[in-house]
């Protein structure tokens, strides 16, 4: 399910990984791992964007003003 992903958190993680990878400080092992992770995140984000639907729920409450004042 794509419903429960935290878009903001994943998006921030992607930026973070990208920055690390671009800094060139990672050794190859770490770089490959970071790359795999970031690809995974980016695919998740894309799937989310393409599949997630907004959900409208009508609030069941009465909006009659509760007395004057």
């Amino acid at each position: 399910m794509t419903k429960n992903i935290d878009y903001k958190a994943l998006s921030a993680e992607l930026d973070d990984v990208l920055e690390k990878l671009q800094s060139g400080d990672l050794d190859v092992d770490e770089a490959v791992k970071a790359y795999e992770r970031s690809m995974e995140i980016s695919k998740q984000l894309e799937t989310y964007l393409q599949e997630a639907e907004n959900k409208v729920i009508k609030v069941k409450a009465s909006w009659e003003a509760k007395g004057k004042q």
């Binding site: 992903i5 060139g24 909006w63």
Partner: protein, 369 residues
Amino acid sequence: MGSSELVLSVTDFVAVFNQTLEYAYPAVTVVGELANFRISKNRWVYFDLKDENASVKFFGTVYQLPGPLEDGLMVQVSGVPRLHPLYGFSITVQNIQPVGEGSLKRAAALLQTKLEAEGLFDDSRKRPVPYPPKRLGLITSGESAAYHDFVKIMQERWGGVDIQLADVQVQGEVAPGQVIAALNYFNMHEEPVDAIVITRGGGSAEDLAAFSTEQVTRAVAASRIPTIVAIGHEVDLSLAELAADQRASTPSNAAQLLVPDKQHVVKQLHATRTSLGTALQRSVSKGQTSVRMAAQSLSEAVKHYLATLQRDLALRQQILAALNPAMALNRGYAIVLQNGKSVRSVKQLKTGDTIDITLHDGTVRAEIT
């Protein structure tokens, strides 16, 4: 005494009259020009409504006012007519609203000046609206074009947003109360929304009046949850928009401000993937270079070591060669053994002993004489 005429005490008359009035006119709505408007002790409101031929007294509290009012405004007042035991006839106000474009504008201007002075519209009060929000409170009419536009644009641009719709009336006498009740609902809900959107489409000044009332404007300003207010109209801003953390020109514009466009974000994601690939390649080739360099210096070290070993071996071979007994035999020396043991002195031998003499090309046996 045959008079059928009813004679009442003054107190009884007031009571009977009020009863009759209440039966005949439980409530009345009157339109007229405001005159002699005054507020007493910050609480009681007195004024007259008049036209060319008549004038009627009204009495109420400041809580019923839509905002500051002044003489000359056209207003519509609902209330209960009543004869006061001491002060005479008046209508007790239940609701009062300016009517007509001119009066509405004037009343809004008076209110705007008052609230501005209180700092309700200050930029320093504006909070950022979470971008994109996960949960949204939407206050609008569920039947309206504004609602459908908003939801449609939200869907086109983004997904996964949980929109809680508070379906309220957005015009008419009940609108302010409903909008405020919905704002309170979202502010007190245990699962808070990230932002509240209040929206409706355009309309006449009267249609939009609810969003310029003092109560609604204050409720928007007081919301603990950030607000976006989008009231579609031509020129003038409603006061609720001025009090909101963010304002939008139309319901669709509110959706645009709330969430990014996913087409654009997907494009960015693709670009990010390309840069990730490039960055990885750089990392890998950097790794390869260092491996190559390590291998090279390793092989040089090995070569050097082997050369040392070879030199060492050659040296020892020379020494060994020098120590080889066969070399001595070549030069004419001989090895003398008696019963397999080397003979180092003539004193070891006596006449008749047998010895083995080894020369470079063989061994002979001899007897001592």
